[in-house]
């Protein structure tokens, strides 16, 4: 699991000045740290197994989830991704990297009155779809975006 979201969270706060998120961030931090660790989900090797371990049936693709990330990663070791859910009563946002050995990368539980907007960093070994999985009212929704991880060199 990647916990390197501190810098981007600070950056986000500075830019947007959204105090609400600051409060919520403080509340969800301990939750993340102490929430029961779903080892099976975080070590599952296929999408089907990951979903199974999380108790996800077949999630619905949703246009109300926005993923903000670069088209090409500047550094596969630290790829900033952000997910924003506009689905009411969002209670959890998870990030999955389809081509990673273990796909589930991070899971954030979101408390009430919290903006469902999460920015984090994921590690990627190769070009892959990154999936944002949103839980709202007990149901699961997804959106995905392809992020290319490429060799450097050869500029115009």
């Amino acid at each position: 699991m990647t916990l390197e979201y501190q810098p981007s969270r600070r950056g986000f706060l500075r830019q947007s000045g959204l105090l609400g998120l600051a409060v919520s961030a403080v509340t969800f931090l301990p939750r993340m740290a102490y929430a029961s660790w779903n080892k099976a989900a975080f070590s599952a090797k296929t999408l089907a197994d990951t979903y199974k371990a999380m108790g996800v049936g077949s999630p619905t693709a949703s246009a109300d989830i926005q993923i903000n990330a670069a088209d090409i990663a500047e550094n596969g070791a630290v790829v900033p991704v952000e997910a924003i859910s506009k689905i009411p009563n969002t209670t959890q946002i998870s990030f999955l990297v389809e081509k990673n050995p273990a796909m589930l990368t991070a899971q954030f539980d979101i408390g009430p009155d919290t903006l469902p907007q999460i920015s984090t960093r994921v590690k990627m070994g190769q070009t892959s779809n990154v999936i944002a999985l949103v839980k709202a009212d007990g149901k699961y929704y997804t959106a995905s975006k392809e992020i290319k991880v490429t060799l450097g060199g050869c500029g115009g």
């Binding site: 600070r10 500047e74 490429t150 060799l151 060199g153 500029g155 115009g156």
Partner: protein, 573 residues
């Protein structure tokens, strides 16, 4: 300078026998036909880009392979040769046809002479300014890199030349390969009060703060004009990330929209993006971001005589690309009426050095900055029997010289050389000087590497670079050409999907074994490991190779067998 003064200068130079092989009357006529474009409207923008530190006139052969795939096929900028002339209605055999295409290159290069050069450019800029009061001169970047002198002065020669030329604003790409501290030093010291570096898409890694102004506003004849900067989005990927360790780039389309909206809210009646995206990326961006009147583009080195007009939700956006190596200047004239652009004229003017007398002040500056390096630059290494050039999707004859040198000097089986789009051209029979070699190789990470690579790794490299060139979504392209390959035969299907374009890999007639290890020589690796290993700079290796041979026969290009692109208008033999 008015027209009469200009003609006087021209004939004076000619009479002195200095620069003009044409007789004065013919030269004047040719210059008039090219450069006497009537002024139009009330806001004019002059655009240079990707000169790659070529201060002196050079030859530059345009490509005969510039393939577009998917929606980009068979439309500008992916047209070459006769298809190009036909599309843009340029008469074959004319100066313009020579400037824009490779057709009969050697013959017309002899006839029409060298192109570019800042002293000649300076004369034309003055001339254009005389008929277009208030015109803004904009520089799309890739200005500080591409020559020995620029490298040895860390871009200082170009910084001084740009200031003298009167550049208003610029954006960045290769500039960043001198390191972020050097870029900031120039921005804060040399450029202060002279030139603004603008980039809406460069931010700090930590807080996402803007590093440069996203845009500048200038009043041109009473009209507020916003110039938005768009640096090369993939600088930390295409070039060493460690050189811009604290900065992050990307296309940043949302922020582009916000920046354009902010400029409009700030009263801009004209919004222009000075872009280093590359033309395919610009065309896509123009279709998605509203409120931009024109994108003045570079990076992909496409000399495009007429703008592409792109529809989007907010109206229409012009997209231009102004070539490379100092060969062209774009002139965009807007007529702004009732608070908006009502009409335009665009011309991409080639700089023919024998039609434009050198500006004395600029020439003196260039001579001064070159002086410490003249002896080294002028060393004659060998004579080339063939035409040496670089530009083209898959290989160039100068790249072949570099590949041959790598294989010979490193005793390698295979050589790889980056698909840069800069690098000048040498006519048959001309000496190859150290300056010529540096024009192809002068980068700040020039280390030669020799690596044991598995067949599967080589395939992965070719596939990765090929996808950066031919991904059907321009936002996933990086704007360079295909990595040049020596020793290894392969096939390429540009229309296939990522990971499936490269096939038939063979060495000396034997198929490449995915699990077997091969000795691969290369240069310009972007990793810190390559820097720390401290290999020999590529120019020393190539120079040694050339000195020993004295005469270089016309190189035999190692080209892939191409599939599924028959009839593509970006391909000519």
């Amino acid at each position: 300078m008015n027209r009469r003064e200009f003609l006087h200068l021209l004939s004076a130079a000619s009479a002195a026998g200095l620069t003009l092989p044409l007789d004065p009357a013919r030269a004047e006529k040719a210059a008039e036909a090219l450069y006497d474009a009537p002024a139009f409207g009330n806001v004019s923008l002059l655009h240079i880009t990707d000169c790659h530190a070529q201060l002196r006139p050079i030859y530059f052969r345009e490509p005969n392979v510039n393939i577009g795939v998917g929606a980009m096929a068979n439309r500008p900028p992916h047209l070459v040769g006769e298809a190009f002339l036909k599309h843009f209605k340029v008469e074959p055999g004319t100066r313009l046809a020579h400037a824009f295409t490779f057709l009969d290159y050697e013959r017309y290069a002899e006839l029409y002479g060298r192109v570019g050069g800042f002293a000649h450019l300076a004369t034309l800029v003055k001339r254009l300014r005389a008929t277009r009061p208030g015109a803004l001169l904009l520089d799309g970047g890739d200005t500080w890199q591409g020559s020995g002198a620029a490298m040895w002065t860390k871009g200082q020669d170009m910084v001084d030349a740009a200031k003298l030329l009167g550049v208003e604003a610029m954006t960045l790409h290769w500039e960043c390969t001198y390191g972020q501290d050097r870029v900031k030093e120039i921005a804060d010291k040399d450029f202060a009060g002279h030139i603004d570096i603008i980039a809406q898409n460069i931010k700090t890694q930590d807080f996402g703060d803007p590093v440069f102004k996203p845009y500048v506003m200038r009043a041109v004849n009473g009209v507020k004009v916003a110039i938005v900067g768009q640096a090369f989005p993939y600088t930390p990927i295409a070039n060493p990330r460690y050189m811009v360790a604290d900065w992050t780039f990307g296309i940043q389309e949302d922020n582009m929209q916000k920046t354009v909206d902010a400029a409009r809210a700030d009263g801009a009646k004209v919004v222009v993006v000075l872009s280093h995206n590359g033309m395919d990326v610009d065309l896509k961006m123009a279709s998605r971001v509203r409120g931009i009147d024109a994108i003045l583009g570079g990076h992909t080195h496409d000399g495009v005589p007429a703008p592409s007009i792109v529809d989007n939700g907010g109206g229409k956006t012009l997209v231009t690309n102004a070539g490379s190596n100092g060969k062209f200047i774009g002139v965009l004239d807007f007529d702004v009426k009732d608070g908006k652009v009502s009409d335009f004229r665009y011309r991409l003017l080639p700089i023919f050095s024998n039609l434009l007398p050198a500006d004395a002040e600029m020439e003196a500056l260039i001579a001064r900055t070159r002086a410490p390096f003249e002896i080294k630059l002028n060393e004659k290494l060998a004579v080339s029997e063939g035409l040496l050039y670089r530009r083209g999707n898959f290989n160039g004859s100068f790249d072949q010289v570099i590949l041959d040198a790598l294989i010979a000097e490193k005793d390698a089986e295979i050589a790889l050389s980056p698909g840069f789009r800069w690098g000048t051209t040498i006519l048959p029979g001309e000496p190859v000087t150290m300056e010529n070699v540096l024009d192809q190789t002068a980068i700040t990470y020039p280390y030669v590497t020799l690596t044991q690579m598995k067949g599967s790794q080589i395939k992965q490299i070719l596939e990765d670079v090929c996808d950066n060139l031919f991904n059907p979504d321009p936002y996933y392209q990086q704007g360079g050409d295909m990595v040049r390959v020596g020793g290894l035969a392969y096939s390429c299907d540009p229309t296939a999907t990522a990971g499936n374009r490269i096939g038939d890999m063979a060495l000396n007639g034997k198929p490449i074994d995915a699990g077997k290890t091969y000795k691969v020589a290369g240069w310009a690796a972007v990793s810190e490991a390559a820097r720390d290993a401290g290999g020999e700079p590529i120019w020393d290796l190539v120079a040694r190779h050339l000195r020993a041979r004295k005469t270089i026969s016309a190189p035999k290009l190692n080209l892939p067998h191409l599939k599924n692109v028959d009839g593509n208008l970006g391909l000519a033999s």
